[in-house]
Symmetry: C2
Subunit: 772 residues, 2 copies
């Protein structure tokens, strides 16, 4: 068990590392040559150009203005300044609602922490439950926790009442947030400009027909069954091979540029070997070799493109069907088309950027089988991952090291190193394990056959959450006490869980505090530094960049990784709710995490991230239900804990809590969830009518004609050199992001001008209003 001074040291270490990250960030971001790393969003939006074109050579790379270094934490208030409506314009609804998750955490836990510290901590601290019980090594933190209350005490009534208060407060905040997010989503959908996906429905599982091609079949089916609404459709080509070729060509072109740059610098024609990884084979002239290869690939691509467009076998049994009105699309997306509900499946088309092309052709039976396989695979992944983690932890514990490597004993004897091992190592071991997981989960989701990137991410997120719950939360609580328990645990009756967990929960508080500091404090601070994109950008910039366009491509804007970030936040909700009534000491650490993460991610969303797609906050129901689950877990755990404390007279009063919480969930589900899965006809009709009035001569068919072409075909419409990435970028600029009207924002991050134009967002917001 870690003592208070261990935790103090760990806190110091983590605060120090966070401080170092922030300081490094403050210095690096001010250097002009890093500008594209730390402000790519503004470049993408075309609102910022390379900082100082004229001036001294040094100034181009290093910021010599000493004043700007003084206010090195200035970016924090700056990040908070942009008002929400403008942020929606700037970064999309997904990002803004993602930030609201952190805000929700603050709204829930700040009042809870106040209540817990005002009521529960004094009650716990003044009892003497731990003094009599000497066989459990208790730490100082446990003095403030429920462990210190004596068995059968009447004081447990306070904890039960507190559990009620916490539940009601959490539900109240959740209700208000759901309400707000739902109305934001509907407002966003109503206010936004014409978009192809408003008119389009994705049709999957088109049955094969011996007489007609897929295209004819689709046209006939919808002409018959939606005669007044059907407008046009696009079939889906199986262009996976083509996309692979295009990608390969792109890579070769990069190498070509690299060699050409080398030639310019060294004035010596570069050579290369043609064999494996350029390590063996004949030596040839690199530029010539690449030119030939690219030519050959271009031919292959042209051939493959012909094949894909002309061969009926490369048409997949799926299509994007567009309608004359939003009303028609809303009707088609929400209704069943034929007797067999596994044929002609219709759903809202995802945004063109959001489509995950290679999954569109999977038939229904295959989908259900894939889902079963993945469910079983995920089960094994979840429950067998536990073992390596437990081994690493038992190795990394002080006892484990002393036992297995006794020659390290003198080193461990030093109290600083001892604290370091106890405070740092377990957290890092876990973190390393978890880094590789999201990728595996994403591959699993792709195998399951979801048709859009947003749904892939949502699925991965829920899997990741379950994994975290079992392995990070339960795994640490149960194996942490004793690794040998794992085996006996399997043979233990399943409902001993609440009691086992309840007993272990207070004991693990110090571990989770350490974890929160490593993962939630230092980890978040590292996020803002963006070391990996920084290094990659400079490498690319040095080797590949020739033109302005190349430099644009070299920027790695990144995006909110919902599938990684959201489950992480949910872990904090879980820890916070579980420990709120048990060990309130944990709460301040969680509040610091939520606050810090909110500021950092707000800054990143404003300046860095560029979302790949916009789902209109479709993920909120997932966020909501996971907080509800955390709430129910916290109630069950408290029941288990109180049972072991022999508070038999008071425990039954907790039973109403899960019932009420579940009911609350169903109420919210019925009340708000439809806003996230369906599109009300009234809204559609209003938009249609408005559009008919404002733009009566709109040629919708031309507008929708190629909206859902596969990205590789999009590329072929433009310059031959342009590739999918650029195109999709272009597309998004055309169709989604509304260019901010604020010109002043262009300069905000540059401190030398900030001092001149310090007027923040509010006046701008007002200024924007009168404009139509």
């Amino acid at each position: 068990m870690a003592t208070l001074s261990d935790i103090g040291l760990a806190a110091g270490l983590n605060i120090l590392s966070a401080f170092i990250f922030f300081a490094a960030f403050a210095i690096l971001r001010l250097q002009p040559f890093n500008d594209r790393v730390y402000f790519p969003k503004w470049y993408i939006k075309g609102l910022r150009t390379d900082p100082v074109h004229g001036g001294a050579f040094v100034r181009k790379f290093v910021n010599l203005d000493w004043r700007s270094y003084i206010r090195f934490l200035n970016w924090m208030p700056a990040a908070l300044r942009m008002p929400e409506p403008e942020l929606i314009d700037h970064a999309g609804l997904d990002s803004v609602v993602y930030l609201r998750i952190y805000l929700t955490g603050l709204k829930i836990f700040v009042p809870i922490a106040f209540l817990a510290w005002a009521v529960l901590v004094p009650i716990n601290a003044t009892d003497t439950g731990l003094e009599g019980n000497k066989n459990i090594t208790s730490s100082d933190i446990d003095k403030f926790s429920i462990s210190n209350v004596q068995s059968q005490s009447e004081r447990f009534w306070a904890h039960i009442l507190a559990a009620y208060a916490f539940t009601f407060w959490t539900c109240y905040v959740l209700l208000k947030e759901y309400e707000k997010v739902a109305s934001m989503r509907l407002q966003f959908l109503a206010a936004e400009k014409r978009r192809p996906d408003q008119f389009t429905v994705l049709v999957r599982n088109i049955p094969p027909d011996p007489d007609e091609s897929v295209s004819e079949l689709v046209e006939h089916f919808f002409l018959v069954n939606h005669p007044e609404n059907y407008l046009t459709h696009q079939v889906v080509y199986n262009a996976n091979k083509l996309a692979k070729l295009v990608k390969k060509k792109k890579k070769l072109q990069n190498w070509l540029v690299y060699y050409q740059n080398k030639l310019e610098r060294t004035s010596e024609r570069p050579q290369m070997k043609t064999g494996f990884l350029g390590l063996c084979g004949d030596k040839v002239d690199a530029i010539d070799h690449h030119n030939t290869e690219i030519d050959q690939l271009s031919k292959e691509i042209a051939l493959e493109r012909d094949k894909v467009t002309n061969d009926p076998k490369s048409i997949m049994p799926a299509a994007f069907v567009s309608f004359k009105t939003r009303w028609g699309a809303a009707v088609c997306a929400q209704t069943q088309q034929t007797r067999n509900p596994t044929m002609w499946l219709t759903e809202w088309a995802p945004e063109p950027r959001d489509v995950y092309w290679s999954n569109l052709a999977i038939p229904y039976v295959s989908l259900t089988v894939r889902r079963l396989i993945m469910a079983v695979a995920f089960f094994f992944l979840t429950f067998f991952f536990m073992i390596p983690i437990a081994i690493v932890q038992s190795l990394a514990s002080l006892d484990g090291i002393q036992k297995r490597a006794p020659w390290l004993n003198p080193l461990i004897g030093i109290s600083f190193i001892k604290s370091f091992i106890q405070g740092f190592l377990p957290g890092i071991a876990l973190k390393l394990f978890l880094i590789f997981l999201p990728t595996i989960l994403m591959i699993m989701s792709k195998f399951e056959g979801f048709g859009s990137i947003s749904s892939l991410e949502r699925r991965s997120a829920s899997r990741y959450y379950i994994f975290n719950f079992v392995n990070l939360f339960l795994g640490n609580i149960l194996t942490g006490t004793a690794f040998q328990q794992l085996d006996s645990f399997i043979h233990q009756p399943a409902n001993q869980y609440p009691i086992t967990i309840g007993t272990a929960i207070p004991l693990k508080a110090s571990f989770f505090i350490t974890y929160i500091m490593v993962d939630g404090w230092a980890g978040i601070a590292a996020e803002v530094l963006m070391l990996k994109p920084l290094i990659i950008y400079h490498l690319k910039n040095f080797f590949l960049v020739k033109t302005e366009k190349d430099r644009e491509e070299a920027m790695d804007h990144g995006s909110i990784a919902f599938n990684i970030g959201e489950p992480q936040i949910q872990l904090y909700f879980l820890l916070g709710l579980v420990y709120a009534a048990v060990t309130p000491t944990v709460l301040p650490f969680i509040i610091v995490f939520f606050g810090l993460a909110y500021v950092v991610y707000r800054h990143q969303i404003i300046n860095v991230y560029n979302q790949e797609y916009e789902s209109g906050a479709a993920f909120w129901p997932d966020v909501h239900i996971r907080v509800i689950v955390a709430l129910i877990v916290s109630q069950v755990v408290l029941m288990g804990l109180l049972t072991t404390k022999k508070a038999a007279s008071s425990t039954p009063f907790l039973i109403a809590l899960p019932v009420l919480t579940i009911w609350f969930h169903f109420y919210c589900k019925g009340r708000f969830e439809p806003a996230f899965v369906r599109y009300p006809l009234q809204e559609a009709m209003m938009k249609d009518t408005l559009e008919r009035a404002t733009d009566p001569n709109l040629n919708l068919k031309a507008y929708l004609q190629n909206a859902y072409a596969h990205p590789v075909f999009k590329a072929s419409l433009g310059d031959d050199d342009e590739d999918e990435e650029v195109i999709s970028l272009k597309l998004e600029n055309e169709s989604v992001t509304v260019p901010t009207k604020r010109q002043s924002r262009r300069s905000t991050p540059l401190p030398s001008r900030i001092s001149g134009a310090s007027s923040p967002s509010l006046p701008d917001g007002i200024r924007n209003h009168p404009e139509p």
Copy 2:
């Protein structure tokens, strides 16, 4: 523990009572004066008239034809003769699919029983597990059960393999049945004639508007949002008080007829007292008194009717909105109308007969609160009902009687009475308890606010099933072994359940066999006798019947009580599946039940029951999932049982079964359930097109104008004397039942003509075909 001879005696008793019921039925049904009791369905359809009008007076009441008594079980093959398509025409799809539940039971259990008796029984019987263990009193039946296999035996592999075989077979049958029922439903919906509910959508939770009446609001909303499809609408009046008055008048009219008949018979003006129940108060002339009262009520009714139709406050915020096409209605029913998903809720209108009028006005929030209240109430009902049952059972057990009433010892000593107590009493005690339950559950469902009778019945059925599961199945298994266990059971860890149940299951086999015989054999045989309707009909016939119309009203045709019958069947599925691998002795008893019940209910459906509504087999998904639940319970119980048998090496192989079963359920849900909740647009469009071609001048508006008027208003459109029942009867004849073309059926049940025209249904079926 009951011995084999106890069970033999109980079987004899039950077979005897079943035989007595059948014999009584065979005699009573042949008497002409019972004709309307046993063949009301044919009278309602107008295909049968009172049997012998001419002839001797005695022949009018008693059948003297001795030949007809010889073949007294003839009705059984006769009931099986009518082919399914004709039965759908005759009785509706609900009835036919209800019969399929019994057929499904036979399809599942006959092969399972063969396999179990061929493989498991020899394996169990040749082991010696029970010989060593003398502290459990084992009966002969246990010799054939899994109890007789020794712990840690390798023989358990056979049970595990059998569990796999049973699961796969059950799933296969379920899949085929779901497929068949879904296609029957769609065929039924497609083949049926024009019906108001095909064009109509029920709109609930219309928001209040200060400026417009509900009617105007509805019209405007749908003119705007469904401009091309909206046709007309009918608001819903709060006519609950009016309906009550009409009912009261009807009752008074019955009394009037009674006194008038009395006057005719006795030629003496009857007198009555006006006070409480006619026991006190002034003596008045009964006929005059009733005439005055009826006059006064008629005035009140007219007044109330005026009030309801003119007072805007009596219009409820709900409406039946009709569309020009089935397509339009299908679209509106399946889509969300406005931003707020709790306003303007649309769903398919139930059949006019199926509407439960008084629940149409409940707002969304109230609904969710009502649901919570009922969930909690149902929880208490379920778990506190257990105690009285357990008390009665411990009293009714042999030990209980001996302990509490030692003076009965000499009586109990007689082996016949001993067997009677053991074989009969526990079943009857339970049955009596359960008789009053469906009414309570129905009231609870009504309070919950469902809008149609069919959904009320489905809800009650699922509640009744849960109740049966907890109290009849679990309650008997757990409290039966020892009532004192109940208390300790609450404090027992929840996952000991599978093990506790698993251990108790084989011991309770004999109890459940007795229960099956009492409830499933004798109970079903009593159903066909219809004692209650028989007595009531003759009482009514004597006191109230004056005209032919009165006699028609006196008939009590009854209907399949889905909310009572289906959970009962499900109990047999549960018992059969649970005992299949444990005690195969139970299976033959269950098969007899399914076979007998199938024949009896087929006979009742053909000759007696007249369904109040037609939901198109909307209940099948409920039936399906309950069998799945039974399957999973059986697997879990087997796992628990094998765990106690220390078959640790083989038990883990069972874990895959529940996983596969749950997956199978999701597969079926996705594949078939939409057919039961949505109406495919293609079907709607096809029907629309067909109708436009065949009936181009149809005045749909007139057809739909009054389809959804409250029944009390319907009455006022016709004769003032006609009441709701007659009207709804009429309506149904007009709109639903297709008159059978077979004239010969009119006489089939009359044996004297059967002998003449013994040609059964097949030639008729063929003869019918050439007719258009």
